[in-house]
Every structure is written in C-alpha cells, then in structure tokens.
Amino acid sequence: MRVVKIGGAVLDRLEEFDGILEGDIITHGGSDYVDELSRRLGIEVKRLKSPSGVEFRYTPKEVLEIYLMAIMKANKRIVSLLQSRGINAIGLSGLDLGLIKAERKKLVKAIINGKKVAIRDDYSGIIREINVKVLRELSKVGVPVIAPIAMSEAYEPLNIDGDKLAHAIALSLKADELVFLTDTAFLADGEIVEKIKVNEMEEFLPFAKGGMKRKLLMAKKSVESGVKKVIIQGLNGRTVIE
C-alpha cells in the first residue's frame, strides 16, 4: 500500500512526475492556490506564528470558504490528470462520508507583532480520526484523492495540514510506502541526500528548515510507526528515509 502526498508547489508540474503518481491513496496540499485566490479576492493572507515557532495560515470563516474552493480546485485538477492517464481517481474531502474527523482548535495562541494573542475564530483542525473502513472500501472502487479538508464536530469544513493528513493516513492504513511529491528532495550543503537511516536523522536536521524539516520529522515518526519507507520525491531527485 502506497500513500502519495502531492505538494502544492508541484500541482502545476505533475506532468514532470511519471509513475510515481500511482498511489493507492493520494492526498495533496494547495496553499499556493489558496494564497492566489485570496489575493484575487482582495483578502489578506495572514500567516501567524505559534509560540513554538510553527507558521500557520490564519483561517477565519471568510478565509475558510476561499480555502475550500481553492483546495477543491486543486483536488479536481489532480483527478482530471489521473483520469487522463487511465487512473480511475475519485476526489473527496474529509466531509465526504465523514472520512476525516478533526477537532476545531477553539483557542490558538499566536505571536502577532511580537505580542502573544489568543485567537478563537480559527477554522483549522487537529486530525482525530480517519475512517479506515470506508477508505479501504473506496480504494476498491477507484484511487481516492483526499483533499486536506476535515469535518469538525459541528460537521463544518476545517483546514488541516496536507503533510499531517498523509502521515495520519499512512499510519492508519499501515502503508508500506509514504511518498511526498514536492519541488526538491532534501539537500544538505547543496547536495541531494539520497538516503537517511532513521537513527541518523538527528545529524541531518540542522540542514533542514520550515516545511522540509517538518517532513523529515514526520518521515522519522512514520518509519518508527511501521511505514517501511518514506520518499521525499523532488523534481531534482529523491531522498529515501528507512
């Protein structure tokens, strides 16, 4: 069982990836699409920093609507491409069949202009449950392409992280392989690192930052939780974590 996460940065360059797209379950990002639609609608994209330094998109209701439309555009673009390659894709969000349940973060702490503030109207979520039974049933019908939109306790859409979604699906389905499709493999001092043993990870982390650092940490957690291999597949090569 292979889970593939298509990064937002390569949504418009999927033609450059060949067989790698063949996953049993596919998830994706799309924050570039969300930023673009927000900009076109004249709505400011606010990225906030959590006290521990993690950056996130401030997603009040007004932005949630834009998030949903832009992410579903990304979803159908992937479905359309896969169908054109004879892969019978079925595009879904976490609302559909209640596939992904998440808890809305009713309180989020963020640093704005150096001050710590409490944010209560954010519609991001923490993934609580993946409907594994339904996902397995659906993968008999076609290849599920799951958008990073979860269902809250109030049955509302929530913004969830695409990488975390891929990780959660890989673990709950006990996948053999988790592939992150993104623009670049992991580089250390400008060189592609082709292979990382999980117990060597600490040596490499200082070379990574932002999204890549999070992917490496997630890869480590995935392998430690039973996923045999995690691949960070870039346009320039790949990094395998085992």
Binding site: S52, V54, F56, R57, Y67, K109, D161
Partner: protein
C-alpha cells in the same frame, strides 16, 4: 495594577490589547485579556499545536 485571577497577585500591566496573552509574574499562569476598561483577565488553557495548510 490588575489582580491575577489564579493566585490573586497584583500585576503591573502596560498598554494591553483585547485577546492579548500575558503571564502572571508570580504564579506563571497564562492570562488572556478578555475585557478592557476595566481590564479583565482570564486563565488560558494549554493548547495542542497542530496546523493546516
């Protein structure tokens, strides 16, 4: 000066914003500004970090 709702200590506060979070210097608890004029503080629970796209 404002009273910490958890330990009762008097806290020196400068200019505050609604929803701003400050730390009680005595008991170290995080407090949210839920009211201005007068300033009203409320304890802020710990939160799990996780993020969307």
């Amino acid at each position: 000066m404002v009273e910490c709702p958890v330990c009762g200590a008097e806290i020196e506060v400068g200019e505050l914003e609604l929803h701003q979070i400050i730390e009680c210097p005595v008991c170290g608890v995080e407090l949210e500004v839920v009211g201005l004029d007068p300033v009203v503080l409320e304890e802020v629970p710990e939160v799990e970090e996780d993020w969307g796209e």
